[in-house]
């Protein structure tokens, strides 16, 4: 059996594929944050809690309303997105003329509140969320057994990421949005309702976080702290990719998944740290990120 770097080719390919799968998940998760920071300059620390709300929303929809995975994919992001709209309208709006850091502190506080409330209600052991029947099982690819659900994760994440990128970078709506955040007064003078656009964009970013949460439900335990440790990683992805670049986050998400996957094979104890090492290096060498523009 041939070997690469000391492990059999089969195993290597399997790990690479898994890295790709995780990467697609990171990309989906950081997409919302990239949209919010890139376009609105808001550092949304609540992202992890909103991801968790998406997963819980799916759980509640299943257990209280009997609605399964497929409807939840649509309903949960909308519901959580609406809470995002409420947050923006009532609280974030007032901080736009202040230093970024206040927005960060506010969203950090909100994350604490949301996580605390859910923890009070649901405890910490996590809730089971069954995988949808259509996606159970898997295929034996020869070099590894690929669960169908994981294949779905790659496909769907890629689709959502590319669709979002397309909307923002290539459509008229996206152009208005990008113009509005660069020079709101001017764009408003043209008759575009800028505040509403910003609110809806924030809601959209939050909805993306919740979508990632619904995707996570069947494979990770649905628990109130599921977002807390992930949030730091997501920030790292956005920072490395370049705060403000949608494509940067997508590419970095995938890339990081692969690098992390390889680290898990050769030096697993460091797989948590590798992302921060990369973040530190990127920040020192090219602080605007790999694809970003200095702000």
């Amino acid at each position: 059996m041939t070997e690469i770097f000391g492990i059999p080719v089969q195993a290597f390919m399997g790990q690479l594929l898994i890295g790709l799968i995780n990467g697609s998940f990171y990309a989906l998760l950081s997409l919302g944050l990239a949209v919010i920071f890139g376009l609105l300059n808001i550092i949304n620390f609540t992202h992890g809690a909103q991801y968790m709300m998406g997963a819980f929303c799916a759980y509640l929809l299943l257990n209280k309303a009997g609605l399964g995975y497929w409807p939840s994919l649509v309903i949960a992001p909308v519901v959580v997105g609406i809470t995002g709209v409420v947050i923006e309208r009532t609280m974030l709006k007032r901080l736009y003329n202040l230093d970024h850091l206040y927005g960060l502190l506010l969203t950090f506080g909100l994350a604490l509140i949301i996580q605390g409330v859910f923890r009070n209600e649901y405890g910490t052991s996590g809730q089971p969320y069954a995988m949808p029947k259509e996606l159970t099982g898997g295929h034996n690819l020869g070099f590894m057994f690929l669960p169908t659900y994981r294949a779905w994760v790659i496909v769907f994440s890629l689709f959502v990421c590319l669709a979002t990128w397309f909307i923002i970078e290539k459509t008229k709506l996206g152009a208005y949005l990008r113009a509005a955040t660069e020079n709101p007064a001017l764009v408003q003078a043209f008759g575009v309702n800028v505040p509403r656009m910003i609110t809806l964009t924030y809601g959209f970013g939050v909805g993306l976080a919740a979508l990632a949460g619904v995707m996570a439900g069947p494979i990770y335990q649905v628990s109130p702290q599921m977002g807390a440790d992930l949030i730091i990683v997501v920030f790292a992805v956005v920072v490395i990719g370049g705060m403000g670049s949608i494509m940067g986050s997508i590419v970095t998400g995938f890339g990081l998944g692969i690098i992390e996957g390889l680290t898990k094979v050769f030096y697993p104890e460091a797989s948590n740290t590798v992302i921060f090492v990369i973040m530190a290096i990127v920040l020192l060498v090219k602080p605007a990120g790999l694809f970003g523009r200095e702000r």
Partner: protein, 402 residues
């Protein structure tokens, strides 16, 4: 003459009873239940432990015996400095006489030291570190329920005996995980099995697919999960996804609680093998206890940690009654002197090093079809007698053991 004698006798009895009261510090026996009330271990110990302590005080009949017992509780949030601050405050200011529960070995070791310095009593039910009855043993500490040695030997030894003789470890990369892996690997090898490999994952990992793939590739019959809490439940959930059990390998959880199985659901957890020292469905006494705890704890059935708090409080109060004092060192000595007998763990005893001995059970999680009611999760595969379940006294390195 007779009357005077009777009167004297009556007065003497009254004085003696009053005397017993007076020797209990400030007339009140204050019990502190310190647990994790809000994060990782809240369902394993938490409010359930407080409920268990209350039941024990009730069942002991403290009121009828003229003993005043008070219970206070606090959340150590899994932080050693919060736990040690609470312990100090409790002992110095609030005159707490004994601390119970304390899941989380880091906090437990800190409380162990403080209790020793102040001569109080510490009856631990939730922590895993076998150092509590080993290197860090103390005349003021009793370690109930379980420890890492018992888990490793119970699960490891019993599984190898039933044919699981090749192992691959999925280990959480921190002291507890390493200790669990090391102890279990030793047992496996001693029982004639082989360890084919291991992989160390960072604490609080979300995604185990890469590690599980490596475990699958090793073709070991048993994949030992040397981790706890969220890491364990995540690895089990994802193992089901990757068809590990269907592919012929079995998962051995090295630290799993009833609440974890509940959180996973039987669909995912079925077939999991591990060791516990208490299961609510063993006999009528344990079932009755479970119903009472469920009523006081939001319908959640008791875990072995909560059962340990109940039994520990019960024995502690019996020891105070017998020793007629609540001085920590003396009461713990009495607890070791008196044999234990409670409806949950049966008959047992506490050794000189503070280790409470009781039988352990190798359990397997039922398939969904086999479960007939809420929390009906386990099949008991075998019982490990008390004298074999725990580390031999002389091997611990405890200074109290001559």
């Amino acid at each position: 003459m007779f009357a005077v004698r009777k009167l004297t006798a009556a007065v003497a009895v009254a004085l003696a009873a009053g005397g017993a009261q007076a020797q209990v510090s400030d007339g009140v026996i204050k019990i502190g239940v310190m647990s994790d009330m809000s994060s990782l271990y809240a369902d394993i110990g938490g409010p359930g432990s407080v409920a268990a302590a209350r039941l024990a005080v009730e069942d002991f009949g403290a009121a009828k015996k003229g003993m005043k017992v008070e219970i206070v509780s606090a959340d150590h949030q899994n932080k050693a400095d919060v736990g040690s601050a609470i312990a100090r405050q409790w002992y110095d200011v609030e005159k707490v006489d004994a601390i119970f529960d304390v899941p989380n070995s880091g906090v437990a070791l800190a409380v162990n030291q403080i209790t020793r310095d102040k001569g109080k009593a510490f009856i631990n039910s939730g922590a895993a570190s076998s150092d509590l009855t080993g290197k860090a043993c103390s005349p003021n500490t009793v370690h109930w329920t379980y420890d890492t040695w018992m888990l490793a030997n119970g699960t490891g030894g019993a599984i190898v005996k039933t044919g699981g003789d090749s192992w691959f470890f999925l280990t959480a990369d921190y002291a507890f995980g390493h200790a669990l892996e090391r102890d279990t690997a030793e047992v496996v090898k001693k029982s004639g099995g082989k360890v084919l490999g291991q992989v160390r994952h960072p604490l609080n990992t979300q995604d185990f697919s890469s590690f599980l793939l490596q475990a699958q590739g090793s073709k070991a019959k048993i994949i030992g999960l040397a981790n706890a809490g969220g890491d364990t439940t995540n690895s089990i959930k994802q193992a089901a996804e990757f068809g590990i059990v269907k592919g012929g390998q079995s998962l051995a959880g090295l630290l799993v609680f009833l609440s974890d199985v509940h959180g996973l659901g039987l669909n995912t957890a079925q077939g999991l093998i591990f060791t516990e020292t208490f299961y609510w469905d063993r006999n009528n006494d344990t079932r009755a206890f479970a119903k009472r705890i469920a009523a006081a704890n939001n319908g959640k059935y008791p875990t072995m940690v909560q059962a340990g708090v109940y039994a520990g409080v019960l024995h502690y109060l019996k020891a105070i009654e017998a020793a007629k004092t609540d001085d920590g060192t003396k009461v713990v000595a009495k607890m070791k002197e008196l044999p234990t007998d409670d409806p949950l763990f049966g008959k047992g005893r506490i050794r000189a090093d503070g280790r409470k001995l009781h039988p352990a059970f190798l359990v397997e999680v039922k398939k969904p079809a086999e479960s007939k009611g809420p929390y009906d999760y386990y099949k008991i595969r075998s019982e490990i007698p008390a004298d074999q379940a725990f580390r031999p006294e002389k091997d611990g390195g405890c200074s109290l053991v001559r």
